[in-house]
Assembly symmetry: C3
Homo-oligomer: 258 residues x 3
Amino acid sequence: LITLLSDFGYKDPFVGVMKGVIARLHPAAAVVDLTHGIPPQDVLAGALVLRHSAAYFPRGTIHVAVVDPGVGGARRPLLIESAGDYFIGPDNGILSLAVEARETPRIIHLSNAAYHLQPRSATFHGRDVFAPVAAHLSRGVAPAAFGETVEQFVRLRVPESIQSERELLGEIVYIDGFGNLFTNILEQDLRAWDRDKLSITIGGVTIGRTETHYGAAASGACVALINSWGLLEIALNQESAERRLGAKIGDKVRVFAA
Amino acid sequence: LITLLSDFGYKDPFVGVMKGVIARLHPAAAVVDLTHGIPPQDVLAGALVLRHSAAYFPRGTIHVAVVDPGVGGARRPLLIESAGDYFIGPDNGILSLAVEARETPRIIHLSNAAYHLQPRSATFHGRDVFAPVAAHLSRGVAPAAFGETVEQFVRLRVPESIQSERELLGEIVYIDGFGNLFTNILEQDLRAWDRDKLSITIGGVTIGRTETHYGAAASGACVALINSWGLLEIALNQESAERRLGAKIGDKVRVFAA
Amino acid sequence: LITLLSDFGYKDPFVGVMKGVIARLHPAAAVVDLTHGIPPQDVLAGALVLRHSAAYFPRGTIHVAVVDPGVGGARRPLLIESAGDYFIGPDNGILSLAVEARETPRIIHLSNAAYHLQPRSATFHGRDVFAPVAAHLSRGVAPAAFGETVEQFVRLRVPESIQSERELLGEIVYIDGFGNLFTNILEQDLRAWDRDKLSITIGGVTIGRTETHYGAAASGACVALINSWGLLEIALNQESAERRLGAKIGDKVRVFAA
């Protein structure tokens, strides 16, 4: 199984062409789109999406992630093997959050051009490098064949929440298509607190507790809950919190134990 | 074969993750996206899309439909078996229009948590309930294993057109991506009338007849025709009727026999 | 392998339903979406996308392309066999650029209704004509069974650049989802020139050379490069050139040898 994640959007044939390249090299490979709606050049969004998605796929899945503003330049193309899964993409941090929590990864620099399309463009390594390497890997080519092992790769830093005895200071790190606001506050950060007696503030809005689900909130009222990524989320029942609150990535969220 | 329909859009990995869950449980399952562009929380749009799509799939197809504003609350997750096909989703009416015209359905409440992911989130039952149930069903698990049989489920009411001897009063029930306006007036409603001598009004516009296809209209002129769902549709040749007429769901459409 | 290209967008179930039709007729067929984001009714954009994509798929692939403003009218549905690949779509030029550079094509008018869905709508031949023909063809039905061989088909003309000794006058023919501007100037048009000493003008902007990749440009500066379609492209590093320059299809691009 091969998954594809990118910021290519849905207007162009770029994703379709990557699937053509894979089909030529390995007709039996199964390909699943993780998403191609990552905001253009937003490596952090892509890395977060990959981190919260990879565990739901079968062991041995090959994840190809292409958010690649540095394509054609000095950044290296990588294959990372970690806990039995494979991650392919540029060395700009896009793969790092998915790999982070796992055992020591094995990192291969995809330097062997014999596994790339020729001629290789300088603007579309998804087609010319990452798709063919994924196809060959899925056919059983050994990781070492694709290039030399390296020790380092670029790691992204997700802003961490700041915790004191009675206060958590976090921020919005992802906004989904419904306009729900994902913070960097984890479920476990709230474990010791009484979740019915909180004061959660974002912009000028204060929420007094966490709910278990969207529908528990009054219509039109903000709701805070632990979402499917295990993160504290600020949302509006059947409405976009992003639009209503004018919220954006990086906005601060404060949680006080009341 | 499993189909997926949702209002998840194309920004996030939610659909991709559902496919990962299915692949883990049943690697050989084939999955087709019906669409994920249902407007957020628009259960009626999702139900109409499912009604007009399901018949084109092979008998025995498993249709998963997730437009689910009540996720995590009291609404039940259901599996409905009807005329040899399977429909999985929340009990909010999303499945009801597809099932309506068929033989008495068999309805299962998906209460057996052994077939759900654990831990189960309260915000993403597509991943934690509906996808795994679909995967197990496609592997041959008997419907009765997923929970108890129930008698009732939520049925949506599509507004019906009002018919008198020389007049039909309908309304717009769906607008497609081209901006074509789908009414609730059926081809058979017009059967007794001379379709070359009509007066079809919407907003301030009057159309004098139905055409067989878009190109039969003068460029920039409104056209009325029977569309691929068997419904009276108001459109503009190579233009968006939605945008030009400022039309929206619920707008009235009147047809007089001239 | 069957590919699908259209201007259907991602709101509606039209593409999903085509896959249902294919699955009913040939359950083992593999289907890949090339893209469904072609701008509505933009036959030239669809034809360019198909031309620059088809070569990346395995020999024998069946490409179905449905940008079809004339659906239901006099335009013929076609199957074109060329260099071992198959192209299915309306006779409005959508197939012509992909076929152009190849050996003499064999053209079949899809007149045999036995291979169409019945009843056949006048507004959705993707579902009722093109998908079923593709499915039957993928099952091994001979091309001649679908209708009579014809000699002519509609060919699109892409505007060609005008070349003099020291000047090339081209124009923008495609804009991708990143806002990158694809011109009709080919890599080979520039072969004799010193690419470090050029004067490339678009709107009020002048670029002095071509770069090999996006990152070679200063942030916020326009860059010219040869892109993955082999075309001269005007772009902005990590930004949309379309938005910043207010550019659109047909805008002129001049290249002088400095």
